[in-house]
């Protein structure tokens, strides 16, 4: 446990006078837009929070916090004396900056992925398009038709970039590869997402999917089960959700981000950085479903490894096409 940074100490002292003078661990509050057990976006952040807790940090979290409630929840945590608040949704942007202005001694981080920061607000990147590129390589080998499908909750930049990266990679393997994109119109409606996936299959012969968002991804799993083909786990290992169809999953290790925030806070050096951890930092990767390992051609695995290495050494820059 590092001695509390002056800034954090002061906050603590204000909130709980009894604790004054005692060196405290960083205390982290996490605000989640969905349920912590979503096997995906929220779960990644939650497990990083648990890791901080294991290291001795005081932690708290709120699940299923709507945009309208976000500012209030953050203020609550400011009052409770937390010195780090992580707002894990890009839609918390304005709430985060507003509360941060009123609580200059608390450090914030939000999931903007656009590099927008403030003195006490960090942003952290989520370059899912990098692992999506690796998935694209797999798709190039595995897809029989070369027709790839992407299901987004809505066509937002981070989703869009994933689909495009996958397509770009697939084309390096199969020049005829093409991408069909559908916005399901809902982040949670599995039934509709499944039908959207089936529609892609029926009209375009799609047999390899990538999902962006929980509902769309679950839907793509069900569609793949029914129509045949493979799909990709979104921000979490989803092999268990579809052992026969989830060929690979994009996994996000948020520990580097949380570690960095805690470290900078404790050291008093936090100054609103833009944390960028991607494939090269082992924060993002693709895992292959062991149950389907035998369905993946060896050269695909080799090509993925090669591309991963190339991303890591900087020789490959994955194209980022947000819209």
């Amino acid at each position: 446990v590092q001695p509390g940074a002056p800034a954090a100490e002061a906050t603590q002292a204000e909130a709980t006078p009894a604790a004054a003078g005692v060196a405290t661990a960083p205390s982290i509050a996490l605000v989640l837009i969905g349920p912590k057990d979503d096997n995906s976006w929220a779960a990644s952040a939650y497990s990083a929070l648990e890791a901080q807790k294991a290291k001795g940090a005081k932690t708290a979290f709120s699940e299923s916090v709507s945009d309208a409630d976000a500012a209030r929840v953050m203020r609550e945590y400011v009052d409770q004396g937390f010195n780090i608040i992580i707002a894990h949704s890009f839609s918390y942007q304005d709430a985060t900056f507003e509360v941060a202005k009123d609580a200059p001694k608390v450090n914030f981080a939000w999931a903007g992925a656009i590099g927008k920061t403030d003195k006490n607000v960090a942003d952290y990147d989520q370059p899912f398009y990098e692992p999506a590129y690796l998935v694209g390589i797999l798709a190039g080998y595995v897809s029989k038709t070369g027709n790839l499908g992407a299901l987004y909750g809505f066509d937002i930049p981070s989703c869009h970039a994933m689909g495009e990266a996958m397509l770009a990679a697939a084309k390096t393997i199969n020049p005829k590869a093409n991408l069909t994109v559908t916005a399901v119109g809902d982040w949670g409606d599995v039934s509709k997402a499944k039908e959207a996936g089936l529609a892609q299959h029926d009209t375009k012969g799609v047999d390899f999917w990538i999902g962006c968002g929980e509902g769309p991804t679950l839907g793509s799993i069900e569609a793949a089960k029914q129509a045949g083909g493979y799909t990709t786990g979104y921000v979490g290992d989803m092999a268990k959700l579809g052992p026969d169809v989830v060929m690979s999953s994009i996994v996000w290790n948020m520990n580097p981000i949380f570690d960095a925030i805690a470290r900078d806070t404790a050291a008093g050096t936090f100054s609103g950085p833009y944390y960028q951890f991607g494939v090269k930092d082992d924060a993002l990767d693709v895992v292959i479903n062991p149950a389907l390992q035998d369905k993946v051609p060896a050269e695909a695995l080799a090509a993925i490894d090669k591309a991963r290495a190339a991303i890591k050494d900087g020789s490959l820059k994955v194209p980022f096409v947000p819209q």
Partner: protein, 362 residues
Amino acid sequence: MSEAQSSGAPSAAQATIQRRQPRRATTIWSLLAPLLGALAGLLVGAFLIWLSGANPITAYGVMVSGAFGGTRQITETLLLIGPLLLMGLGLTVAFRGRVWNIGGEGQYYMGALAGTVVGLFFQQRLPGLALIPLMLIAGMAGGALWAGIAALLKIRFGVNEIIATLMLNYIAEYTVLYLARVPLKDPTSFLPQSAQLLSPARMPTLVGTRIHLGIALAFLLIPLIYLLLWKTPLGFRIRAIGANTTVAYHAGMNVAFGLAFALLFSGALAGLTGIIEVSALHTRLKAGISGNYGFTGILVALLGRLHPLGVLVAACFFAALAIGAQTMHSVYGLPIALAQVIQGLVVLFVLAADALARRYGK
């Protein structure tokens, strides 16, 4: 009075005297019953909390202090009362006219859209003093216009307003999403949201607090709605139309106008809520700017028995309950789902107790 009437007078007079006392008892009960109901709901909730291994007393302590425990908490509660009150008051007018406006969500979105567009366009050119009223008016117009589609469909084509407003919710939401993603998108980032409203376009706040003009407006509307419904001929007509449309029409009232007014008025207030919330809280147009007020507003209006003061009480109740429940989760670590269940239980029991009091209190 005629002879016949006076001959029957003693018993009638007696009866009139008898009437007063049970009435008073009724009002006491009608105040007490919801409280008892809330208590019963909390009691069942306590059992659930205990089942999940937590201490109900501590949890409820956190709940109460989360909603009322200090200046910040009370501020937050007030900030949430505002939109609930505005929505509930608008729907009170609609429901008094028996117009089932389920489209608060859509009207909220459209109000937010219209107001934000005005704000974005003029914020470099106009001072707040001029811009804010303009935005509020635009917000109301946006909401009213959206409700106006339902009104037109109802009056001109006989389309039931429940289905029309419900469908228009989805259409409004997708419309706003599109506009925020494409034409109104903030050019400085690639997120699907409009540019941010700058300070002239933000709700002015009471000095030193976060209480903003929107909250004041909501409270100001309480007496106004009361006046509208019970002290103006228009309000009378709306209530008459709600009671029996044929009779109202036959009595020479302009039923189409009354229905349209009720619907547009509630739409305007929903739109007003939308622009106020955007200007004060969300600061821009994007997905997820509605806190589901369109639906909670229905509960607020009806639990408030379609009376402005009742709506105020109901709005306070819902705001405190929502915030308290969330604090139980955020601070005390109770599962959010459990907090939601307790919320639902409390509403359910309040409703039942209220009904019991009305039935047997009489």
